[in-house]
Symmetry: C2
Subunit: 276 residues, 2 copies
């Protein structure tokens, strides 16, 4: 593991590391914000999963989260969104292949050799963080868009690992929308029963254990009606009597301007659960 | 003038406009953050000048200023750093030509036809903002690196227009450092007497009117010793008994992570002067 960037930020450090992933079989970058208190004590960790086309840089340059991580004494880790490299399967479209791993374990050729982002996030990266940084080994997960889908699915599937889940503009029901259907068909094949494992609405409908969930969605998001469909999440939660906080934010779009406007509330939400 | 971007942000709007500049003789973009209060009242304006290679996007995507502009009820305008276009003089280097206008009025060919950024900022853009947005017609100026140079020079040269001046990692004495010497020689010619008008240290030494100045400089800035030399500013201020606040920030570099960490203090500083 090699540190490839270090910037002082709000009294702590915004670092970027590169390591060789055994699960993804390629070099991967991740960013980690270490608050000033990380010098002296072990801290809880929040994982941030970015959306389509992003890498480990988008969140740390645009979301303005470091201030609140510093104030709330939490580490934030933001991985890349897929395996990367010239020898790794890819697609010319922005919503499949590199930059679009969808946080699942692919079963179909040519994707299955490297596209194992679910295991990478839940197992390999988490172990790496816990072993090499002042991690209290208690964590939460959040994300945006396809990364909001990832945060919901990973959090709901691992209630013993993640204390709380939050998402901005998540793809809540990938099995029912074009982005998810295209990706799931490529990565997982045609059997839609196998898609359910990676569909937050299906996980809630099938009785997922209850964890605190916070979702923010902009009303002016251009992907709202075709790809995001937050009403499918609220309907499922209502049906299962699963508590969820879903905030519709008037006038906000799908951009990091939206994320920056509400990231403080998400970090405070997770911090409260992580320090409970 | 055409609005080419609009994003909800901290209750207000982060907009980007394009207009045809008479002074620069080309189409120019500028960004403007309008706090929620701009709907109902006229507000003071802070101008942000970015550094080498930047355009109107860097500050609005990376500095995290919108939160504090919203809280302090100030408009922030961030222009591009030079004239732009295929038919406009340029240079292959990052520190001359497009992206590197140095906020001066060029006198030398081929630059003088379009490179009139000083007049653009002080006159044309300010008039455009005052006429088209809820501007209280009271303003301050701040910037980063070459834009810190621009803010100091423009602020010191126009004490009746700008209430306060601040800078992150500014080029305080361009006549004495490689970035400035290269640019001034190209844009202004060999007569170094003519450079003094655009050199903050020279302006202070020649008795510029006193306005509040705040400067933040990171101690781990890789340009500190060769290009920035803040000691030349503090020496000149000391010599002239000119009050200045210069904060050396231990461990911080030249990046927007540094700016984001201290932008709140700069906006509060300007807001206090603008509402005096």
């Amino acid at each position: 593991m090699e540190r490839i960037e270090r910037h002082a930020s709000f009294g702590g450090w915004q670092d970027v590391y590169q390591h060789q992933s055994d699960i993804l079989k390629c070099a991967m970058n991740f960013s980690i914000y270490l608050p000033p208190h990380a010098k002296d004590e072990k801290l809880p960790v929040i994982y941030w999963l970015s959306g389509l086309t992003c890498n480990e840089q988008n969140f740390i340059t645009k979301a303005g989260a470091q201030k609140y991580a510093s104030e709330n004494k939490v580490i934030i880790v933001a991985p890349d969104t897929s395996p990367r490299g010239d020898n790794i399967a890819d697609d010319a479209a922005y919503d499949l292949g590199q930059g679009a791993g969808f946080y699942l374990n692919a079963t179909q050729a040519p994707w299955s050799e490297h596209y194992q982002m679910y295991d990478y996030i839940v197992h390999e990266l988490r172990a790496l963080i816990d072993e090499n940084f002042p991690s209290k080994r208690v964590q939460s997960i959040m994300g945006h868009s396809a990364g909001g889908h990832g945060a919901l699915v990973i959090g709901l599937s691992n209630p013993d690992i993640y204390q709380s889940i939050s998402a901005f503009s998540p793809i809540v029901a990938p099995s029912q929308v074009p982005w998810g259907q295209k990706a799931f068909k490529a990565y997982l094949g045609d059997d839609q029963l196998l898609w359910r494992r990676y569909d937050a609405v299906e996980l809630i409908k099938s009785g997922a254990a209850r964890k605190p969930i916070l979702v923010d969605q902009g009303s002016a998001d251009s992907f709202l009606e075709e790809q995001l469909k937050p009403e499918l999440l609220s309907d499922a939660c209502c049906e299962m009597n699963y508590p969820v906080t879903l905030n519709m934010r008037e006038g906000y779009d799908h951009s990091y301007y939206f994320i920056a406007s509400f990231i403080e509330a998400h970090i405070q939400f997770h911090s409260a659960e992580l320090n409970r």
